[in-house]
């Protein structure tokens, strides 16, 4: 099958590129669009390091053929905060030592973003359930769960409305 032009809305911006059918969303993000935050840990859907949000829901980008999400919206870690600021999830990961090597971090944060957009006050079980598809080999899951719960609290205290990205990022 010949290559085709595909468009996506990536972090709010319309993007167009040429893709051979079957090319994964992960390959397009990393190699065509230069967005390398999402990582390839296994390329088979089992580690979650490649997680991005497609229409605000977490998806393992290594398993998504890009043409199947044409014209949909995709959010990556690069789009979480701008101008050198960190949002509540990012700053909470820093403060709670929820990242060590950092290879799982993009996936973990995107999962957390989706969770907190959906539910501003998740229980610990909700957080554990949300990250259950994401492997971390360094940090241990405990600090990550604590960081996500802490981020939820920070977001509630800052009065960030659920269902949409933080308007005002927390500056650190």
């Amino acid at each position: 099958m010949p290559s085709q032009i595909v468009s996506l809305v990536v972090n709010g911006e319309p993007r167009e590129f040429i893709a051979r059918p079957g090319t994964t969303l992960l390959t397009i993000l990393r190699e065509s669009l230069g967005l390398t935050a999402a990582k390839r840990g296994c390329a088979q859907g089992s580690c979650g390091t490649c997680t991005v949000l497609v229409d605000d829901r977490p998806a393992t980008a290594c398993l998504v053929a890009v043409e199947t999400v044409a014209d949909h919206s995709v959010r990556t870690l690069e789009g979480v905060a701008s101008d050198g600021n960190l949002d509540e999830v990012q700053s909470s990961f820093v403060d709670n030592f929820a990242t060590q090597c950092g290879f799982c971090t993009a996936g973990m944060i995107m999962v957390a973003e989706a969770l907190l957009d959906r539910d501003p006050d998740p229980s610990e079980e909700d957080v554990i359930e949300a990250i259950s598809g994401n492997v971390c080999r360094c940090t241990g899951y405990r600090p990550i769960v604590i960081a996500i719960l802490d981020a939820a609290r920070r977001r509630r205290e800052a009065g960030v409305e659920p269902g949409r990205p933080a308007e005002e990022a927390v500056s650190r």
């Binding site: 990393r30 190699e31 230069g34 967005l35 390398t36 935050a37 999402a38 990582k39 390839r40 840990g41 296994c42 390329a43 088979q44 089992s46 580690c47 390091t49 990556t76 870690l77 690069e78 979480v80 905060a81 960190l86 999830v89 990012q90 700053s91 990961f93 820093v94 403060d95 709670n96 030592f97 990242t99 060590q100 090597c101 950092g102 290879f103 799982c104 971090t105 993009a106 944060i109 492997v135 971390c136 080999r137 360094c138 604590i146 802490d150």
Partner: protein, 461 residues
């Protein structure tokens, strides 16, 4: 912000300067955390130079076999395949990573020559315009094998008539200064067994353990205009990799530049020099950037795990719990090649007989070659499995004597000034205090005499 640290008990450090305690117990931000949470930390695979070629390995489908022939015709016909490297392309094909510190002999080929010694051993490297073409090419290489008997068990490998795994060693064990193993001889264990009220012997065994980093092993090599090679790698050992790679390429060290330090999980699994040399050769012969990164299944199958070990421990024990003799026979499965396992075995020997003062100790620690995946470094390798065995042994001895396992340890724990089995005087010991504190924290009652014991004196024993 959540603090998970209990306040530090500084009493044991009373003699230390107060201003040395500025970090422990305080909150220090990781210097790289900001890059991690914004996705801006650059891992090696985030580097995408134009004209990048992809390398995939054709690997042995046998545990042990002679290679009668390799047919590259079908692989070379795959569109996009530009080059296939064999052992003949590697300037110095035979190496061993610890040669930098004088460990020999060279025992491992970068690409197999006439024989394969484990399942998944690299035979030839397919270089192609795309990852898919490289994979397709690698799948189409045909190797004609003549199967050889294989050995997978450390004791079978040392038995009379076992197949010889690695000809460069000449026998299925690593030789330490002429000895067949690392040995400890201290006192007279046989006499201790004769005097003991009880003799206990048990066997312990572990399987290989894969480090399973989230980022697989890999590198991107970029030829520079000045003829140097820039290596972006997730190695845990930049200079070690650079020096070994230079020896393998037969180039001066300053021909290579390594960009590293960002490692997506290593745990010891990324200290071997497995991807850089062949990727460098591919970059040299094509004069183009080359990426060689393990698939997840390669990471699980061929990246060297923690060695499997088998350990026999025989103790001479008195009714009151004193251990008067300990005999340990330890086998470390190096797999088909040495890599870091001779060193791991030495560490295992250095760690015996555990943190206990035992007057009679005998140990033989064997580094054994088998037709399994070569083992190498992993977090405390050579030590952790031995600890598992030693501490399991302590628990079993305690159970057999119907004794409190902490009291058994307190009785036998080494004290400052004790002569250890390696003829080194123990100093700075703290096992007694650590056990006392642990007992207190978990509410485990110890009699007064045990609570008064100290690492600095043998009084009360």
């Amino acid at each position: 912000m959540t603090y998970r640290l209990a306040p530090i008990d500084k009493r044991p450090f009373a003699a230390e300067r107060e201003d040395d305690f500025t970090v422990i117990g305080s909150v220090v931000q990781r210097s790289d955390a900001r890059g991690h949470v914004t996705g801006r930390t650059e891992f090696f695979e985030d580097v995408a130079p134009p004209g990048l070629l992809h390398l995939k390995m054709h690997r042995s489908a046998r545990h042990h076999a002679r290679i009668r022939g390799v047919d590259l015709t079908a692989a070379l016909a795959v569109p996009g395949v530009t080059r296939i490297l064999t052992h003949a392309d590697i300037p110095n094909n035979l190496y061993t990573p610890l040669k930098l510190i004088g460990v020999g002999p060279d025992d491992e080929p970068i690409l197999a020559v006439d024989k394969v010694r484990y399942l998944g051993e690299p035979i030839c490297a397919v270089v192609a315009e795309s990852e898919a073409a490289a994979l397709e090419g690698a799948a189409r290489v045909r190797v004609d094998y003549e199967d050889l008997p294989a050995v997978f068990d450390v004791e079978e490998a040392l038995a009379e008539g076992a197949p010889l795994v690695n000809e460069y060693h000449g026998q299925n064990f690593f030789k330490y200064e002429g000895h067949h193993c690392r040995r400890i001889r201290f006192g007279d264990v046989e006499k201790a067994f004769g005097q003991a009220d009880h003799v206990f012997e048990w066997r312990y065994e572990s399987a290989p353990i894969e480090q399973a980093p989230t980022e697989t092993t890999g590198c991107v090599v970029v030829p520079q205009a000045d003829g140097r090679l820039r290596i972006h790698s997730d190695t845990q050992a930049c200079f070690f990799t650079l020096d070994n790679t230079a020896l393998i390429l037969e180039v001066p060290f300053n021909r290579l530049r390594i960009v590293g330090g960002t490692v997506g999980g290593g745990f010891g699994g990324k200290v071997d020099v497995t991807v850089e040399p062949v990727a460098c050769v591919a970059a040299m012969v094509t004069d183009r950037p080359v990426k060689f990164v393990y698939d997840r299944d390669e990471e699980m199958q061929v990246s060297s795990p923690r060695a499997a070990e088998r350990i026999y421990i025989k103790d001479a024990v008195m009714d009151d719990g004193r251990i008067i003799g300990r005999k340990v026979t330890l086998y470390v499965d190096s797999g088909a090649y040495a890599r870091h396992t001779p060193y791991g075995t030495t560490k295992a020997a250095a760690h015996l007989p555990g943190p206990y003062s035992i007057p009679n100790v005998w140990a033989d620690c064997h580094c054994v070659f088998t037709n399994r995946t070569p083992s190498s470094a992993m977090r405390g390798f050579g030590v952790t499995i031995g600890d598992f065995a030693l501490e399991s042994q302590m628990d079993r001895v305690a159970r057999a004597l119907s004794m409190d396992p902490l009291r058994l340890r307190l009785l036998n724990a080494y004290r400052d000034g004790d002569l250890k089995a390696h003829r080194k005087v123990a100093e700075g010991t703290a096992l007694v205090e650590v056990i006392q504190k642990t007992a207190e924290l978990v509410g485990h009652e110890l009699p007064e005499a045990y609570r008064r014991m100290s690492s600095t004196t043998r009084e009360g024993l």
